[in-house]
């Protein structure tokens, strides 16, 4: 495949494994073994069985009639919000925990922004009987309280990250530091398509089930497996990677990623990485990064904790670079309105992260025959406080 990772761990100019020597053995172990483990029959059987019977896959592909009427196109929703734990994140944590077991690890660590990945990790750790520590920015712990308690109910320890902006970036720093201090018995389940190679590829492969299902479901419902558009929101980019994966080489399918513009791209309070970033290195990979002229990482801002990240995965940086994926963005306000609109038109309250993807519908020049798939990556239960505070409904 043209847009996937090369043998050296790069996507064009982006990717690699920029890690301190302390993490080298762990990353090397993963790099050497991930493909042979993932491709084994045994892994595949266990992964597919859990996705089916535990996660509830395949998730439906739902024709949103009222939304379609409103925007004058055929809009289908890939219902990742119906996955166990309420978002696509669990596809990856199921894959990685089976892998961790195969590698003989006893403990799991993770970072989380909105808490969805933390919950998905805590969930699979409970399922597999493994010890779990989740790092979460102190600010995020306050704005995503229900998810903090969900993780605790599931038996995980939630460690507040108190450095920097106390959000996802800092939680990732803390998780990596924990791994440096506990290299032998611990596996780090990264939640997005970020981090050193092979994480971006590994996470993308686990999430690729999303587009694999969209293809056969769309074929069933429309007679073609190819839509005109696939839309997904992007923070680090795991749900977008999954929704785009099997369409990357189908150049006739327009792939659209929607970043969080926060208070506006030019406001200084934004997380729109492709609009504001330059190539740089953070969390183990070379990618597009919001940073000062001096190379210090900028604290991003978005109303949604899951998009509040100053970079994007290296695969997305490459897809942006070569123009394969169109990157749009939506402000807090636009996303909140789109979230309410979806709730009213289709009876689905989306996660605020996901609402950003819906906000981009207005920016596309859709024709009445266009088939549009939106990855409905998560449900909005965890965001009720934010919806209530926003209030305009």
């Amino acid at each position: 495949m043209k847009y996937t990772v090369d043998k050296t761990g790069y996507y064009g100019n982006f990717g690699g494994a920029y890690i301190p020597e302390m993490l080298y053995p762990n990353i090397e172990e993963l790099r050497e073994s991930y493909l042979s483990i993932i491709d084994s029959k045994e892994f595949e059987q266990q992964f597919n069985a859990l996705l089916k019977d535990y996660v509830g896959r395949p998730t439906p592909l739902f024709k949103a009639e009222r939304l379609s009427d409103k925007y004058g196109a055929h809009i289908y929703l890939k219902r990742e919000d119906l996955c166990h734990t309420g978002a696509h994140k669990v596809n990856n944590t199921i894959g990685q925990i089976i892998l961790a077991k195969k590698l003989g690890k006893q403990k799991i660590i993770a970072e989380t922004g909105a808490g969805q990945h933390g919950v998905a990790t805590a969930t699979v750790c409970a399922l597999m009987g493994m010890e779990c520590v989740v790092y979460m920015g102190k600010v995020d712990m306050e704005r995503q309280k229900p998810n903090v308690e969900r993780m605790r109910i599931l038996g995980a320890t939630v460690q507040p990250a108190t450095s920097g902006s106390q959000t996802l970036k800092d939680a990732t720093n803390e998780a990596m530091r924990h791994w440096i201090n506990n290299p032998t018995d611990t596996h780090y389940i990264i939640g997005s398509v970020v981090g050193p190679h092979p994480y971006p590829d590994m996470v993308a492969r686990f999430q690729a089930v999303i587009s694999e299902e969209i293809k056969f479901q769309l074929l069933e419902q429309t007679g073609s497996e190819l839509p005109n558009y696939v839309l997904a929101c992007v923070g680090g980019g795991s749900n977008a990677a999954g929704a785009f994966y099997h369409y990357l080489d189908k150049e006739e399918v327009h792939l659209v990623a929607v970043e969080a513009a926060g208070l506006g791209v030019a406001s200084g309070e934004s997380a729109a990485t492709t609009a504001l970033g330059k190539p740089g290195v953070l969390h183990g990979s070379k990618t597009l990064l919001m940073q000062t002229q001096d190379g210090q990482v900028v604290e991003p801002y978005s109303i949604s904790a899951g998009l509040d990240y100053p970079g994007i995965g290296p695969m997305h940086a490459h897809l942006f670079d070569v123009g394969r994926v169109k990157f749009l963005n939506a402000t807090d306000e636009e996303a909140m309105k789109a979230g309410i609109e979806l709730s009213r038109l289709e009876g689905i309250i989306p996660a605020i992260e996901t609402a950003h993807a819906f906000a981009a519908l207005k920016q596309l020049n859709l024709g009445q025959n266009d088939v549009v798939v939106i990855n409905l990556s998560g449900r909005g239960d965890k965001d009720l406080d934010t919806y209530i505070r926003w209030g305009k409904y």
Partner: protein
Amino acid sequence: MHRINQLFENKKDRILSVYYSAGFPALNNTLDIAIWLEKAGADMIEIGIPFSDPLADGPTIQESNKVALDNGMTLDLLFNQIKELRSKVTVPVILMGYINPVIQYGIGRFCQSCEDVGVDGLILPDLPMSEYISEYQDKFTDHGIKNIFLITPQTSDERIREVDARSNSFIYMVSTSSTTGAKDSFGEVQASYFERVRSLNLNNPTLVGFGISNKVTFGQACAHSNGAIIGSAFIKVLGSSDNLESDILQFVKSIKA
């Protein structure tokens, strides 16, 4: 002879290298601290380039990075602060930092600035060896800059030999699997790791870093290597000092005693 090689030529054991963050505790302390360290008897000096996300560092150095950045520290400013370095300091000086600020500054320009002010070596913990070889090695060599690699208790013998072959100054032996910061003492794991490395009869000398905080840990580290590097413990002294010059003198004396 290159200043780092000269040091190891002249001195075979109990080499003391001290790390601090540029722009900490006050923005303009950078050069003075180097001068005072040499006066106090440090054999080598490591100046940290502050970074917003120092992921190999523990709380003490994270904090000194943050204070330095809040003080307004930048890489441009650092080179400006140390432009008189070589008229004031004779011991080898190494810059230690994360790769992103270096990339933004521009690799070629960075190497030139290092050469201009008389920086002898670089420790860039998140620059992988493969990248170093393909993108950086020639530029570093052209400007007389030594790249210093890290090894850890988890590093295989084979990789240690690879590091040895790629090094031409010294090897930084990270004492424990950890981020930077003080430990109370070294245990059997360290002893057997130090012994394993010694038995490889490497071409390059070694300095032990991470977890060296006082006379005792300095002595333990030196028993198995050519010397040791102190960072966090020194940063703590700087952070609480009312008189930097005398406290630096006192600190170095207490380590070497």
